[in-house]
């Protein structure tokens, strides 16, 4: 299916989703839906570097939180419309991703992964020591009472923004998958030395992947302060982001754009239900167990089951 057609179909689906939520008009649905859509973006973003290119990023929380905290900074210093904040969050995270990638991507993939894990701790340390954004005490962000332009519940506006972001992320992932860039990524994933020998500029492509991946994660994090209204490093850098962002594509299937979406919708919804019915810790434990289970028994994920 050509890219334009796909985007139109996707936009139509998104419009349907929004129309459905609008009709039901339940605030909880918007809250829960926001989280699921957020994970769709995060999982899709992770998969560009992880599933397509083969480089595992454990530091999702860092990129995500950088987006959130850049919103906090803008909110305090220079309030701009939220879509602009989202763009800024994306740029900040993208640049950090680029810098970190430049330092670590020339080495083995495992060193890159370890560096991302350590980096998350470091970024958290830096933010915790930065009083302007509240440090370890956290920051309070007032959520506006009404959404701009069309009015109505602000949470509905957040839901809509995240829905649009999800559409952009999915469309980007799919476009990459079938493009020259996507073949380059796949070659790097399958055999980096052979890719180099085939003329693929591996470092440049890996940097592109890191930048795109980090950038989308930053964009997903940018609206967070308005969603939670109180942001502190412990919650912003929660390990659950890292685990979920890895578990969702691995369970859904890493080789296509569809896997992260399936994983995010399934696992995200499961967790929303479990948090309410059992406990959030137990629901996280279930995610961890599913991750290990799928990695051992079903390496190609849910998408892999159906491909046969």
């Amino acid at each position: 299916m050509a890219n334009i057609r796909f985007i139109l179909v996707l936009a139509a689906v998104a419009a349907l989703v929004f129309a459905g939520a609008y009709a039901v008009d339940n605030a909880y649905l918007y809250f829960a839906g926001y989280v699921v859509l957020q994970y769709v973006v995060l999982a899709t973003a992770w998969n560009i570097l992880g599933g397509y290119t083969g480089y595992v990023n454990f530091g999702t929380a860092a990129f995500f939180a950088l987006g959130a905290y850049s919103t906090v900074v803008l909110h305090k210093a220079f309030p701009v419309p939220l879509p602009v904040m989202i763009a800024v969050g994306g740029i900040v995270s993208g640049v950090v991703g680029l810098a970190m990638g430049y330092l670590t991507l020339r080495l083995r993939g495992t060193f890159f992964s370890i560096a991302t894990l350590a980096m998350a701790v470091v970024v958290q340390t830096l933010i915790t020591n930065w009083n302007y954004v509240g440090g370890s005490r956290g920051a309070y962000i007032l959520r506006p009472a009404e959404a701009p332009i069309f009015g109505g519940d602000y949470i509905r506006y957040l839901f809509l923004l995240m829905l649009i972001l999800a559409v952009i992320a999915i469309a980007t992932a799919r476009a990459i998958q079938f493009s020259r860039l996507g073949f380059g990524f796949a070659a790097i994933r399958d055999d980096e030395a052979a890719a180099e020998a085939s003329g693929v500029p591996t470092l440049k492509l890996k940097l592109i992947a890191t930048m795109l991946s980090g950038g989308f994660m930053g964009m997903a994090g940018a609206p967070l302060p308005y969603y939670v209204t109180y942001l502190d490093p412990a919650s912003g850098f929660s390990l659950s982001y890292a685990v979920n962002t890895i578990a969702m594509p691995l369970i859904g299937g890493t080789s296509t754009w569809l896997g992260p979406v399936i994983g995010a919708v399934l696992l995200g919804t499961l967790q929303q239900v479990a948090t309410v019915t059992i406990s959030s810790s137990l629901s996280l434990l279930i995610v961890g167990l599913l991750l290990v289970g799928f990695v051992i028994a079903a390496p190609r994920g849910i998408v892999g089951w159906f491909k046969k």
């Binding site: 470091v122 890493t254 290990v292």
Partner: protein, 292 residues
Amino acid sequence: MDLSFDLWGNALVSGLLLGGFYAAVTIGVSISFGMLDIVNIAHPAFIILGSYTAYIANSVFGFDPILSSIVLLPAFYLLGMAIYHIYDISFERRGDAAIRGLAFFFGILFITEVTLSLVFGVDYRLVEAPYIGPSLHWGALDLPLRLLVPCAVSLALIGALQLFMSHTFVGRAVQAVAQDPLALRLMAANPSRIKRIAFGLSIASASVAGAILIIIQPVEPSIARDYIGRIFAICVMGGLGSFGGTVAAAMTLGIVESFTATFYGPSWSPAVAFGFLLLTLAVRPAGLFGRR
């Protein structure tokens, strides 16, 4: 900056002792990552598990934490062998160890942390022993036994492992398997079995490391993550697989962290390890202290 000898001297001593402890924390990964090329990022979780088992032995039964950790060595060893077995049949033999292996260990790290917090809660736990509290004094220098005993135990542990590696058939086989699995096979040793033993040893070391951790500081499940950066920084700095290098790198990190904490505040400590890791990877990925 206060230039008194007291402050500098004590920061140095604390750093050395802390570094000794960091060596014990890292030695397991020197084996699993340095020699077996298995990126076990869950190692800190096993250390925390060791801390909690020492805690139970101490608070419920009144046993000394270090002694109980030694008694528990076989249990951790078996756990290590079991985990390696799963890793081996799921990933190593299938040849796509990279992403899936990493995700596997990350999952284990996560499951362990969440399970511990479900069972024990997120309160800090500590142990009681006669050597936590008093300090030796040497002139103006303080040598807290709280740091001295763990450092001594750590060096003893590493010494024992080094002796094992160089003086037993199995130990030499472990060193060999890192370099040439085929040659090992020709020597009638099964590489899989050797690796399983080595990984078992790696996890067994976590029992002792965990016990001395909870002597040095109170423990709660999420501190595992603080140690990942330190462990791999030391591993890479020390030259993968070199025990001597590991100790040297650990001491260096301990000293720098100690000075940073003394003069800039302890909240910057986690950044030190990462800075070292980046520096090493950028300048000399083969390690600053390793064999080559």
